[in-house]
């Protein structure tokens, strides 16, 4: 099938959502990016690979979301001087993805304005590319000089506040460079990549089932979403379709993960405004939620529940009744807490107008997921491309137009109620039957998965080698899209409000540093 009249031959992958895969040349690579940008599509992910071992060259792939579904364009590059046309001029989110692709594989975006390293913090030399097939995974290097040029801001009274990567609290590492006048933030520049641990290299050579365990550990708070995206990719690659009951139970797990994270975030947001009462109440709800997850599914965070071919363990009637009871209890408690949030003048004063991302800015920068919906970007895969079982559940995308911290709080509350409704509907309609189908990996095949996680769209791309083992697996967390927008959200705010704004996005460090 051809999209945008560009003469690209896209092939539909065997996925429940419409995902298309096609090879492009350099001209069509750029033409497709332009066409997608003009059609108000979004860049979902960009990644590179090395196929020289099997006689190919380097490849770079870009995944775009549009009205037709997900288009994955693959460009084969020269083995000697791998370079491809820059996408950052069409999609700002491509900037860091391209820099990461260069650090890992050594493929350059020709014409890119920003070519600073992203993941390489001096842990390996500039001419070593860890994801190349001939790179020794055991190689050890002395620390290299790490002079990262931050963008300077000059002017009368402007000074810099460097924050992190070691913080006063126990949180993930990231460096934030504020340029401020007094308390007012003129510019924020993030530097991430401190949690790079070589997950994508680790995937190489694994079988599909071991890969599922690793994919579930890309980001602990999104383990179901990442495991489902991976499993979808594995099933597409093998041509397997999962039993209906497995699909329904996966949706149940995904919604439980969404509720758990929203509960945690709402409490933390209250606490960041020194409203400790909210943290205590939401922590209690979240803890009960996770304990029941452990009782019913065997893991507090639901790790390793989603496996290629279905799910790992079935749910009995007794557990289903407990889940239903907890959904009702949680709704009652959250309704009451929402009333307290809404009526608390001091709290609302902190949240309203803070960290505003206008819908226009959100659209231009490609703000994704929950934060995007709070800024008027009504994108929700469960509503836009309802795959089983969401096609039977009529999911309402919860959107807001204000784009401030208060809007992101309101969107979380709305999504908690919607997910509780979904959990009840899923448990009421849960079909009987098998929960697992064996997945037999096909050699030299590609697959992809695309799931609406709690933070936004989680994507996975998978390739197998001639022996049917993993040749390349790319897991994409929506934090890639949203971190750069956070830099814009704080402009003009005061420094003291940054933690609140940051928490309202609650982006993953580990999930994108990989």
């Amino acid at each position: 099938m051809d999209f945008h009249g560009l003469g690209i031959d896209f092939e539909r992958l065997a996925t429940p959502l419409p995902i298309w895969h096609g090879a492009v040349d350099a001209d069509r690579w750029e033409a497709l990016a332009r066409a997608v940008a003009e059609a108000r599509g979004r860049l979902v992910s960009l990644w590179a690979g090395d196929r020289r071992a099997t006689g190919g060259g380097f490849v770079v792939s870009a995944a775009y979301a549009g009205l037709d579904g997900l288009l994955i364009a693959e460009l084969t590059l020269d083995a000697e001087a791998p370079a491809y046309p820059d996408l950052a001029s069409f999609f700002p989110a491509a900037n860091r993805l391209q820099r990461a692709a260069f650090d890992l594989v050594g493929v350059a975006a020709a014409g890119a304005a920003d070519r600073r390293p992203w993941l390489r913090h001096g842990a390996w030399p500039a001419d070593f590319f860890p994801l190349r097939h001939d790179a020794d995974p055991q190689a050890r290097f002395d620390p290299q000089p790490d002079d990262y040029p931050f963008v300077p801001v000059e002017g009368d009274g402007v000074h810099e506040i460097p924050v992190g990567p070691v913080h006063a609290g126990i949180i993930e590492p990231g460096h934030f460079r504020f340029s401020v006048v007094g308390e007012k933030v003129l510019r924020l520049e993030e530097r991430l990549g401190y949690k790079h641990k070589g997950i994508e290299k680790r995937f190489v050579g694994m079988d599909l089932d071991s890969g599922a365990r690793l994919a579930g550990r890309v980001s602990g708070d999104s383990t179901v979403a990442h495991a489902w995206a991976y499993a979808m990719a594995a099933e597409a690659l093998a041509g397997t379709s999962i039993p209906p009951r497995a699909a329904w139970l996966r949706a149940l797990l995904l919604e439980r993960e969404r509720v758990a994270n929203h509960l945690g975030d709402l409490g933390a947001l209250g606490n960041d405004a020194a409203f400790g009462f909210a943290l205590a109440q939401f922590s209690r709800l979240r803890e009960n939620w996770q304990r029941l997850s452990r009782d019913c599914f065997g893991h507090r965070l639901l790790m390793d529940c989603v496996v290629p071919g279905g799910i790992a363990a079935d749910l009995d009637g007794d557990a289903a009744a407990r889940l239903l009871g907890q959904a009702a209890d949680t709704r009652r408690a959250v309704e009451e807490l929402k009333r307290i949030f809404d009526e608390h003048a001091g709290l609302q004063d902190r949240l309203v107008t803070t960290g505003r991302v206008t819908p226009a800015l959100a659209a231009r920068l490609g703000l994704a997921g929950l934060a995007g919906r709070a800024s008027g970007q009504g994108v929700d895969l469960r509503a836009d491309f309802p795959w089983a079982p969401y096609d039977r559940l009529a999911v309402q995308a919860c959107t807001h137009l204000n784009g401030d911290v208060a809007a992101r709080v309101a969107t979380r509350f709305a999504e908690v109620f919607e997910s509780l409704r979904l959990i009840e509907d899923i448990l009421a309609q849960l079909p009987a039957g098998e929960i697992h189908t064996p997945v037999l990996a096909r050699p030299d095949a590609v697959g992809a998965g695309w799931v609406e996680g709690w933070r936004g769209q989680v994507f996975a791309a998978l390739e197998t080698d001639a022996a049917g083992r993993i040749a390349r697996c790319h897991c994409h967390d929506p934090s890639w899209q949203n971190w750069p927008v956070l830099e814009h959200a704080v402009i003009g705010n005061i420094v003291a409000d940054f933690p609140l704004i940051n928490k309202s996005f609650n982006l993953s460090y580990s999930g994108q540093d990989l």
Binding site: A273, A274, A496, D497
Partner: protein, 316 residues
């Protein structure tokens, strides 16, 4: 003339402050936890923290000057002295003639200057950030505090805290509008000066939102212990001043040992009630935006002025 009971009362007041200040902190923390439906830490937790810190190594930045090292002792000394001036148990205090209400405000200001200088001394971004914010709050809180003390002085024709307490405790039981308004202003100032919600959050780990905590981020070991203890003493001193001005009953006037003995349970009871009220304020409020703090303290100043006017106009 310094009487031996006066000397005893003075020593007892300072010793009591040193001993009880961490307990007051623990009491407030306990109530805060209970009000948030959490299981509370032990009442003795602040003592354990101090014990732990005193036994830890004190790590200093390489470029720390002697100022950085002596600041904790100065701050601690200021707060201990403030507790000595405030008439907590008895009004017959040898130190009282040496320092009146204005000197007390100066004492707090002195501590503030040193801790802010020490914070900037090491040259980290957070130290300067905290010092800047501390000064913003200080220059607004001090005038408001002075106005509160002045309105009490007008009623009693003296700026000596001991005299103020003696006079107020002797007046017939009646509601003084000026004192009631001044009491509200004093509460506002106390919250700001002691880095409590809604102005600052003593429990935060978010370095960018800190005020008081940002000042002391570089301190460790015994230095940090002294500063933490000084913070507890400051809260204790403010509570005692508040109680002395607005609830002076129970403070011993005649310097008899028996009266002082009776003053102790009265003080503990009043502090316990005050601690619960502080915990309630901290639980129901969120922290305000940093630039709302000037409005908050301006309100305190305005209330203190109103208290003065009420006294001048109504003579009450």
């Amino acid at each position: 003339m310094v009487s031996w009971t006066g000397l005893l009362a003075q020593i007892l007041a300072i010793a009591l402050a040193l001993a009880l200040a961490p307990l007051l902190m623990g009491w407030v923390n306990q109530w805060r936890a209970w009000l948030q439906n959490r299981r509370a830490p032990s009442l003795l937790q602040p003592y354990r923290t101090l014990h732990k810190l005193f036994h830890k190594e004190s790590v200093l930045a390489e470029n720390a000057s002697p100022l950085f090292r002596i600041a904790p002792y100065i701050v601690f000394g200021c707060m201990a002295l403030a507790c000595g001036i405030a008439p907590t148990l008895s009004t017959d205090l040898p130190l009282a003639p040496a320092a009146d209400a204005i000197a007390l405000v100066g004492l707090f200001a002195l501590a503030r200057v040193f801790i802010s200088l020490a914070a900037m001394d090491v040259g980290t971004a957070f130290g300067s950030l905290g010092a800047r914010r501390e000064m913003l709050i200080g220059f607004l809180a001090e005038p408001a505090l002075l106005m509160v003390l002045f309105s009490a002085s007008l009623i009693t024709q003296s700026t000596s805290l001991a005299r103020i307490v003696e006079t107020l405790a002797h007046q017939s039981f009646a509601i003084y509008p000026s004192l009631a308004v001044a009491g509200v202003a004093f509460t506002f100032v106390s919250l700001a000066e002691n880095a409590r919600v809604p102005v600052d959050n003593p429990a935060t780990h978010l370095e960018l939102t800190m005020i008081h905590e940002a000042l002391i981020l570089e301190y460790s070991g015994r230095h940090l212990a002294l500063i933490e203890w000084a913070a507890a003493l400051k809260l204790f001193a403010y509570s005692c001043i508040g109680l002395a001005l607005f609830f002076p009953w129970g403070v011993a006037e005649a310097g008899t040992p028996l009266a002082i003995l009776f003053a102790i349970p009265a003080l503990v009871l009043k502090l316990a009630v005050g601690g619960v009220l502080l915990a309630v304020i901290e639980t129901i409020n969120a922290k305000m935006r940093l630039f709302r703090v000037p409005e908050f303290l301006a309100t305190a100043f305005l209330l203190a002025v109103i208290a003065l006017l009420v006294h001048v106009l109504l003579g009450a």
